[in-house]
Symmetry: none
Subunit: 204 residues, 4 copies
């Protein structure tokens, strides 16, 4: 009803990204219609195309921005740490904190990979591999020093990442456990899993 008039440029763009992120998170890319999106933003469907090229492009931008921000933030978080165990703890703390504050981005970055066209898929997947490699290198460093001992580095990395990322699916802000609790919990589980049980090894 209330007709907005005149240039509204960058605000509209941000609103589209924000609303698009939420809709894809809640309903999925295929199930989100651009009419819904436009209506949440408060413009007509056709007007979306002053800001995005296609629906696919919106998804790709969302994922790419997220992955690049994530990688950059990870690098900053790991920088000060030198020993494998410190790095592992820093990784867990960073991952959990980042993932519970950006649940939507993280979630769609896993769930909507299949909605990407092949060329876009390759780009996002290679960014994700770079992220996974950081964890693998930490584990490898630990294995080398003996501070950390994991059975199979890639498989363990995938297992730990799945565990840590899973927090997104059940964490709700304001719930029983605070972010700090979660970081403590996941750090404990990860560090345990990454170290051999001394008794077992002593006995062997």
């Amino acid at each position: 009803m209330s007709r907005t008039i005149g240039s509204n440029g960058p605000k509209t763009m941000e609103a589209i990204y924000a609303a698009g992120l939420g809709l894809i998170y809640r309903h999925g890319y295929a199930a989100m219609s651009l009419r819904q999106l436009a209506s949440e933003v408060g413009i007509q469907p056709g007007s979306l195309y002053n800001h995005i090229r296609t629906k696919q492009d919106l998804l790709f931008s969302l994922l790419q921005t997220h992955m690049e921000t994530l990688l950059h933030a990870l690098n900053e978080a790991l920088e000060p740490h030198t020993t494998p165990e410190e790095q592992l703890r820093a990784f867990v703390a960073f991952h959990v904190n980042y993932h519970i504050t950006r649940r939507a981005e993280v979630f769609i970055c896993y769930s909507e990979l299949r909605s990407l066209e092949p060329a876009n898929y390759e780009i996002i997947v290679s960014l994700r591999r770079a992220y996974e490699r950081r964890l693998m290198m930490i584990l490898a460093g630990g294995n080398a020093e003996g501070a950390v001992t994991v059975p199979d580095i890639p498989a363990t990395a995938y297992a730990l990442l799945a565990m840590l990322t899973g927090v997104c699916t059940w964490y709700k802000p304001g719930g029983r456990l605070s972010p700090e609790d979660l970081v403590a919990l996941y750090t404990e589980l990860t560090v345990r899993a990454a170290k051999p049980l001394p008794s077992l090894h002593t006995q062997t």
Copy 2:
């Protein structure tokens, strides 16, 4: 003019479920069209309605059948075991084996919950909670006995389930690691995570 070849009779139903499972797994429920499904089955779209009531019904049947089969199989797998650690190992072995052989069912059972209508959603989620409770009870039993010591039972259960279920997303049959290797690996990681690091506790 007359009867076109294609699947017929009771086989059609099975073919619809099998093709539907694959399509939802690969493309997602919203992105799968009943025309695609019919064409994979070898019938006309209208003919689907001799076998299913609606698209939603097909999804629900797939998930419900999966969850009930899963729960039943879990009960059988846990039955012979009595101590918490044995039960935990049995749970991991069962979960990993089952999940890597039914990757599609397992995957859509997580990813397509949001595509369920509210009534159907409640039914599936409560089945899933029953499954999760089994793990929580094992952990609780372990904590009670001291054989296993986890910081927060529900949170640990979710973390472990996420880790174990994650195997579906990267396991490919015929890959570097055999199912037995995976069971061994995940058992090791789970048991480590579920037991305190003696050094820590000795020192405290």
Copy 3:
């Protein structure tokens, strides 16, 4: 309002072709909307797709059917005739008669060539070349015998075809001139143009 129900197969198909032909003739391919077409046929827009694959396909089918029918009919019309002048007269009579009874088909076959996708374009253009070649061969036969003398066979053929086809743009059934009058007129003009002016040649 009045809902037509049940199978109406081949009739609908014919109605789509007939209405499509008329709409493309009157408004042009680009300016014809499938909504218009559906409404002329008396069905919903989506129902068109039970009969045609795409809008482009409809255009192509119309043109291809026309060109193949035209070529076939020309062959029949020319068959009984043997001398170049007889063949030329038969060609003119056939062309004029056919073109004033199928004005729409003929018109769109010229005007909508540019609306065809490349692959379809090639097919239609090669059919049209086959038609033009028939006239060129008649002229060549005449030149050889001396019964007919034209300056440049391809250019003359194009000129005559343009002249003869032009009848479509101004002929209206029931007008001042009957089809027979037109055939007589165009035959006279064509035969005159195809024969040298004796005076000119005597003098040279």
Copy 4:
């Protein structure tokens, strides 16, 4: 932010007409979008409206300018000639030369008549009728003097015009035949068609 480069000032108008002519010629009025046009001109779609009132107006201006220029040029070309045969030859030479140098204008002036709104249509069609009347009056003058003898003046005029105008559809600059060749060819064909075959008439 500030002023974008691109065409500016009075040149923009010319660029719009030139690009519009080419686009309508190649794709047709309905199939040409103002976005395409703007992009060829190097401005934004909205900026077009500083120069044209509507898309329809652009088409009308193009056709009106063409027709008025054409009529004026014809008058100049015919002025020096007095006998019907001289006038007929002058008409053919003018028409062919003009049409092969302004193929686009000529083509759209026939093909896009139907895209004109009724009021605009009437104006253009009446200009075209004035052009056709010039040829009819030449033929009538010839018939009166006996120098030229055609069966039915309007029909013959339409036939000849169609033949002469057809040159646009197949002439390509730099092809096998030069403009002079074409003028000679079309003059020959026209003069032949406009004169009776003496032999026929002697025998009758």
